[in-house]
């Protein structure tokens, strides 16, 4: 340790020794010349980053400040460290603000100028569609909803996103899945007149409480159940079988009183079942731990009563909404609602262990099985069939023309480019083979199957024009640009309008690109930015995998998990659809809650299971940092993790990711004298006494500590285990603050960092590749142009779409 300190002092002394003669010590004189900048560099940077010390493998001594394009990669690193205030490190001499700003502004201007003169747009390689894109492409190509997760394996990710071309690989497993998927999808799109009866079972998560209205697709005022989009392969008869949740002894819960189960098809009631009874045999007590049983008849009834929940009904071909729910029997008293521990007093909430052990509480649906078709009447019209069969051959003479029309329409959309005669030949041969086996429709199906496994569908392929020199930037074609747009904004293929504009070569006409982007953002398909971009950026997929410990966080259940996700999705979507400033991610004073979430957040006056916007006034919540989704995803199952939360803030809000942990994790010293149990903060403080840990943990931990008022599932607390929470924190630049409200304010003072990181994340996602140093000028330009528009969502999106890396591509290197 002593040696370390000495060498540290040595560095400082060495720095002093190289102090240049030029008069830049007079702080208020803003430097203006290259030699002055050189002097700043020498004084504040080269003291460590020189040939001898090579700190962080960075040597700035010999670099030319006057000609930054020589070493743009290194200079961009310097700019980043300066912009985020990470360098010079605390404790070392720093230039005053004017000098600092002038220097970094100079460097940026030089880098931007060099880049404008010789832009490097980078090069995204061949890009396989990921699972989400494939699923959406099928939806838009064939008007067919598929469960991509059941058909295809997950995709690998890098830099936080799973649409990065370089890591989306192809394995034999994936190829087999593509072939199976193509067969199943083509069959479903065309329809299979020989479909045999099968049962599909839908299961409700066991720990999803069904004590409220579960879906906008279920009748208003209903309780529990499930809304299912089920595909009915033919016009015919189908069977629905419902099974109810049972306790540990396999007895259905809640049969001590009658309940009605409402079954609907596309909103129309199919039947109303009644189950449960007070006056039937002698039941066991409602809350008994299994030792007491009722009379045999009653026991049998409680075990098997749901076997009668079966109904046969007729349905038309296609995807239809099946709704199963209970008629809500709780009489809501008139007048103001009374609350007991935050719950309306008419509705007791069972603990999760009660739900396992006891027969009390309302009955809940466990599974719904839908089987058929029986007594099939043939194929009906479906959106998919209408979309595929744009014509029907009336006689043999017009068959070929119609087939050609169908195939060219499908292939143009699937390949996302004009259809050529060359494309027709192979598809026709698939058609002919199928046609001779099973007629016109089977022929089309076979050709569709072939389209769905074609590399032109599965991969996004951009190719250099023949006349472009190697290693130069060129404008990609309108057709390629159309795909970049649709995969960015929709995670899907372009629609006909976009393709038409691109094919006519009008996509870059004045105003057209803006108009198309505006149209695409308003379209429902831009929801993909929520389900893909936001879900990955904000860790919603990690939320789905979180398993908070019931012993520590007994409030957590599946309803809360769903509410967390919806809150963050709605919040993001609101900023996107209302075109708000992205700074609202940091400090919005509103959010979206339902009764369950409001209770968790201790927001009074919110009734009902639907989400609505609420104003947050007490300063504890607001912005992303008050949201349960993020607070839960950055915690461990049984406790908070200030390190993880701090790292999340650095990565996602400040844009200054800490370096990864050292390869060899040193042990902390044994606990202090005596048997005093250290608090989380005390232990972490001790951790940071070790310099090897401190260099990063001193950045992460204080940010996480400021969020300690939120427990591992985002519930507000003022004490932990009897000890009051100390929510004091420090920003990397030394700014101190107290708790989340002040952290939000402090973050707003670092807004450039946030806008930059959001832009970088969006650009990474938009390009499907990680950013390189040569993208930094584009990022700066986008954020600069968005500033007058208060960094509104659309200004960032448009900035990206118009940026060099999005519009251009570097041709193959020599």
């Amino acid at each position: 340790m002593v040696g370390r300190i000495l060498s540290w002092i040595g560095i400082v002394l060495a720095g002093a020794g190289t102090l240049p003669a030029a008069g830049i010590q007079t702080a208020n004189l803003t430097p203006q010349t290259v030699s002055q900048y050189r002097a700043i560099l020498d004084r504040y940077c080269v003291t460590c980053h020189n040939e001898r010390l090579r700190t962080a493998e960075l040597v700035l001594g010999a670099m030319d400040v006057g000609n930054v394009s020589e070493d743009a990669a290194v200079w961009e690193k310097v700019v980043r460290k300066l912009r985020t205030g990470a360098m010079p490190p605390a404790g070392m001499p720093r230039p005053d603000t004017a000098t600092h700003d002038s220097f970094v502004t100079y460097l940026e201007a030089q880098l931007d100028r060099a880049s404008a003169g010789n832009p490097n747009p980078g090069r995204t390689g061949v890009h396989r569609l990921n699972r989400a894109e494939y699923t959406n492409a099928i939806r838009d190509l064939l008007a067919l909803e598929i469960d991509g997760g059941a058909l295809l394996p997950p995709d690998e990710s890098a830099y936080g996103f799973d649409n990065i071309a370089a890591v989306l690989s192809v394995s034999p497993l994936l190829l087999e899945r593509y072939m199976t998927a193509a067969r199943r999808i083509s069959r479903r799109a065309i329809g299979d007149p020989d479909a045999r009866p099968v049962f599909e079972t839908y299961e409700i998560r066991k720990f999803l409480r069904q004590d409220d209205h579960m879906s906008e697709d279920l009748p208003f005022g209903s309780r529990g159940g499930i809304a299912i989009r089920h595909y009915f392969p033919l016009d015919g008869e189908y069977i629905i079988r419902i099974r109810l949740q049972k306790e540990a002894r396999e007895r259905i819960r809640g049969l001590h009183e009658p309940h009605q189960i409402d079954v609907r098809l596309d909103g129309e009631r199919v039947t109303l079942f009644t189950i449960g009874s007070e006056d039937f045999g002698t039941p066991a007590p409602i809350f008994s731990l299994g030792t007491l049983v009722g009379d045999p008849e009653r026991e049998k009834y409680e075990r098997f009563a749901d076997e009668d929940l079966e109904i046969r009904f007729s349905a038309k071909t296609g995807t239809r909404l099946v709704g199963i729910s209970f008629v809500n029997q709780f009489v809501i008293p008139e007048g103001p609602l009374h609350y007991i521990n935050g719950r309306p007093d008419y509705l007791p909430r069972l603990s999760l262990s009660d739900r396992i052990e006891n027969r009390g509480g309302p009955p809940e649906v466990q599974t719904v099985a839908i089987g058929g078709p029986y007594d099939a009447k043939g194929l009906g019209e479906t959106p998919s069939r209408n979309k595929v069969f744009v014509c029907r051959p009336v006689n043999n003479d017009d068959e070929e023309a119609c087939v050609k029309r169908i195939l060219s329409t499908l292939a143009r959309r699937a390949y996302r480019r004009p259809f050529t005669d060359e494309d027709l030949e192979p598809l026709l041969s698939f058609y002919k083979a199928g046609q001779s086996d099973g007629g016109f429709e089977e022929g089309i199906r076979r050709a569709l199957e072939a389209i769905l496994v074609s590399p032109e569908f599965l991969f996004r392929i951009e190719s250099d024009p023949a006349n472009v020199a190697l290693g130069t930037a060129y404008l990609i074609s309108d057709i390629e640009l159309a795909s970049r747009l649709s995969f960015f904004l929709w995670s899907s293929i372009p629609d006909d309008e976009l393709l038409d504009v691109a094919e006519r070569g009008e996509l870059r006409d004045p105003g057209v690109l803006e108009q198309q982007v505006g149209r695409m953002l308003r379209d429902r398909r831009s929801q993909a930015l929520v389900s893909n971009f936001a879900a990955e950026w904000l860790g919603l997929r990690a939320l789905a995998a979180a398993k908070p410990d019931q012993n520590v966080f007994s409030d957590f259940d599946e309803n809360l998990r769903d509410a967390f996700r919806l809150e963050t999705e709605l919040f993001f979507e609101n900023i996107m659809r209302e075109d708000r400033s992205v700074l609202e991610f940091l400090d919005a004073n509103y959010s979206f809650v339902n009764n369950r979430l409001a209770e968790h957040y201790q927001i009074p006056g919110v009734y009902g299971s639907h989400f609505r916007r609420v104003k947050l006034s007490d300063g504890t919540r607001g912005g992303l940092l008050g949201q349960g989704a993020i607070l839960t995803a950055t915690s461990y199952d049984n406790r908070t993790s200030p390190v993880t939360r701090g790292k999340w803030v650095l990565d996602n809000l400040l844009g200054t990711p800490p370096p990864p942990p050292p390869p060899n994790v040193p042990f902390l010293k044994e606990q202090g004298a005596g048997d005093k149990v250290l608090t989380m903060r005390e232990r972490m403080e001790q951790h940071r006494a070790d310099p090897a840990c401190a260099s990063c943990h001193k950045l992460m931990d204080p940010l996480g500590f400021a969020l300690e008022n939120f427990d591992g599932i985002g519930k507000w607390r003022t004490a932990e285990g009897g000890t009051p929470i100390d929510p004091s924190g420090v920003l990397p630049d030394g700014t101190t603050f107290q708790g989340p409200a002040e952290l939000r304010k402090a973050l707003l003072t670092k807004r450039e960092g946030f806008v930059t990181i959001v832009t970088e994340k969006l650009l990474t996602y938009a390009l499907g590749r990680w950013l390189e140093y040569y993208d930094a000028p584009a990022v700066r330009e986008i954020t600069r142009e968005a500033a007058p528009n208060e960094h509104r969502w659309s200004s960032l999106i448009l900035g990206i779409v118009q940026s060099t890396p999005f519009q251009r591509r570097r041709s193959q290197d020599p």
Binding site: A56, E57, G125, V126, R128, D147, G149, P153, P154, E156, S157, A158, Y159, G160, A165, A166, S169, V170, S171, P172, L173, L174, E176, M179, T180, Y202, E203, K206, S215, A227, I228, P426, F430, D437, E449, A450, V453, S454, P455, E456, F459, I461, S463, E536, R541, A542, A545, K547, D549, D562, D637, N638, P660, P662, P663, N664, V665, F667, L668, Q812
Partner: protein, 449 residues
């Protein structure tokens, strides 16, 4: 709420068409009807590699005594009944998991540990390492079995943002690399594994199956012709994705060809699994069941199975551990945390014991599957608390068709590359390489009786 995802009750089995007969994923790849198995006569050696993340507590794993009288340590206890069928191999090192100067200070110890383990190469950030040992074997056996290899795991690899910034997340999700730049993804859904092995169709009509085979053939032809056409207009660097696609096409073509040859293969009786079981324990066991079936039917001879992704934060509630795995491994010598990790290590070993039991009770040729198997068990880190990739916990079980005699603890010289063991394993599989990764020679697995 709207639920699109379908889950089938766990007890829904394939009934009616005869549970022994199930057609494969690409209908018609596997023959439906069987006479007596021919493969059993030859009894090839099979390799299973079972990986546990975050290292193993050294004091709870490593026996103090070298040789046949080694003591049964807490972690080895669940395996005690197999002590004569296994070798504990100490002193082996995963040297490329150490940070290297080229990393530019951007170390990622868990990515390195897992990425280097089976490849013996130093992982580069964005996804370039080396062909893994299992894939070297897969390339060999892919000529003889329908599936060149199987890659399985417990944790779904679709939670982004869990790996170090800028590192290809594949490093912590899989052990297997087909090429230095192509990771092979793991499958964690039992049903998907089942369908990949034994099919998803109920058709038994031979004519229909033959028709499907020829349809699949023409689709594959079309796919390779299309990609060949596209490749012509691409530069060499852009071709790599399509090369992967072409390689995969050839793999599937080979599979079809194998399926047609092996028209008299008997398939094991196995129920079609439904969704992912509710507990870790059940999930791991059903994966082991599927592995056993895959080996038994000689669908493949090489399987990797990750009992957790590297740096896993899994919480093993069913054994009373309510803390996430990875952070607890950095135990700072806290005896309570060490105790918890030891319990997890023991739990994993008990699941391995389940697998060995399963292999031992499955007849194969003149003995059992365990007799004709090698089961490599271990981690890419030794002491996980220190990210130390030395003195790895490694165990090799099974007889390798009479080529390995178990019942000893062999101590190798300090920092012997674990790749030396891999060379030896490949030898036992009949695949002889001069060197592999950072290997410096072969391991002597013999020991005095």
């Amino acid at each position: 709420m709207m639920i699109f995802k379908k889950a089938i009750p766990r007890r829904t089995f394939l009934r009616g068409v005869g549970a022994t007969v199930a057609l494969p994923l690409l209908d018609g790849m596997i023959p439906a009807f069987a006479s007596k198995s021919q493969a059993a006569v030859m009894s090839p050696v099979r390799l299973s590699i079972c990986y546990v993340p975050n290292g193993i507590i050294p004091g709870a794993w490593k026996p103090q005594t070298v040789g046949p009288n080694f003591e049964i340590t807490p972690v080895l206890k669940p395996l005690a009944k197999f002590r004569d069928r296994l070798l504990v191999l100490s002193g082996l090192s995963n040297r490329h998991a150490e940070a290297a100067p080229g990393d530019g200070g951007q170390t990622a110890p868990h990515e390195l540990a897992c990425g280097a383990f089976l490849t013996g190469a130093h992982p580069q950030k964005e996804g370039r390492v080396g062909v893994s040992m299992d894939q070297v074997l897969a390339q060999e056996f892919g000529q003889q079995t329908q599936l060149a290899s199987l890659e399985l795991g417990i944790e779904a690899p679709d939670v982004t943002g869990q790996c170090a910034l800028g590192w290809n997340c594949a490093y912590i999700h899989t052990l297997s690399w087909r090429s230095p730049t192509t990771p092979v993804p793991i499958e964690n859904q039992p049903r998907m594994v089942f369908e990949r092995l034994f099919g998803d169709s109920n058709t038994t009509d031979p004519a229909e199956r033959q028709a499907r085979i020829s349809q699949n053939r023409s689709l594959l032809d079309w796919m390779s012709e299309s990609s060949a056409r596209i490749m012509k207009r691409l530069g060499p660097k852009d071709r790599s994705k399509l090369t992967e696609y072409l390689d995969a096409i050839r793999d599937v073509e080979r599979r079809i060809a194998r399926a047609e040859e092996q028209t008299s293969r008997e398939l094991p009786v196995l129920d079609r699994p439904a969704g992912i079981p509710a507990t870790y324990d059940e999930h791991a066991k059903i994966m082991f069941d599927l592995m056993t079936s895959a080996l038994q039917s000689d669908m493949t001879r090489v399987i990797t199975f990750m009992l957790g992704r590297e740096q896993s934060d899994w919480t093993y509630r069913e054994i009373g551990i309510f803390d996430a795995h990875h952070p607890t491994t950095h135990h700072q010598n806290d005896p309570v945390k060490i105790g918890k990790i030891t319990k997890i290590n023991i739990f994993h070993a008990s699941l391995l014991s389940y697998y060995l039991e399963k292999l031992a009770s499955t007849p194969d040729g003149d003995g059992s599957l365990l007799d004709h198997s090698m089961v490599l068990y271990g981690s890419g880190l030794g002491d996980g608390s220190q990210h130390a990739p030395h003195d790895l916990p490694i165990l090799l079980a099974g007889g390798a068709a009479g080529q390995i005699r178990g019942g000893s603890h062999i101590q190798h010289p300090k920092d012997t590359p674990v790749t030396n063991l891999f060379l030896t394993i490949m030898d036992r599989m009949g695949v002889h390489q001069d060197s592999f990764g950072d290997s410096t020679g072969r391991l002597d697995l013999s020991h005095p009786a």
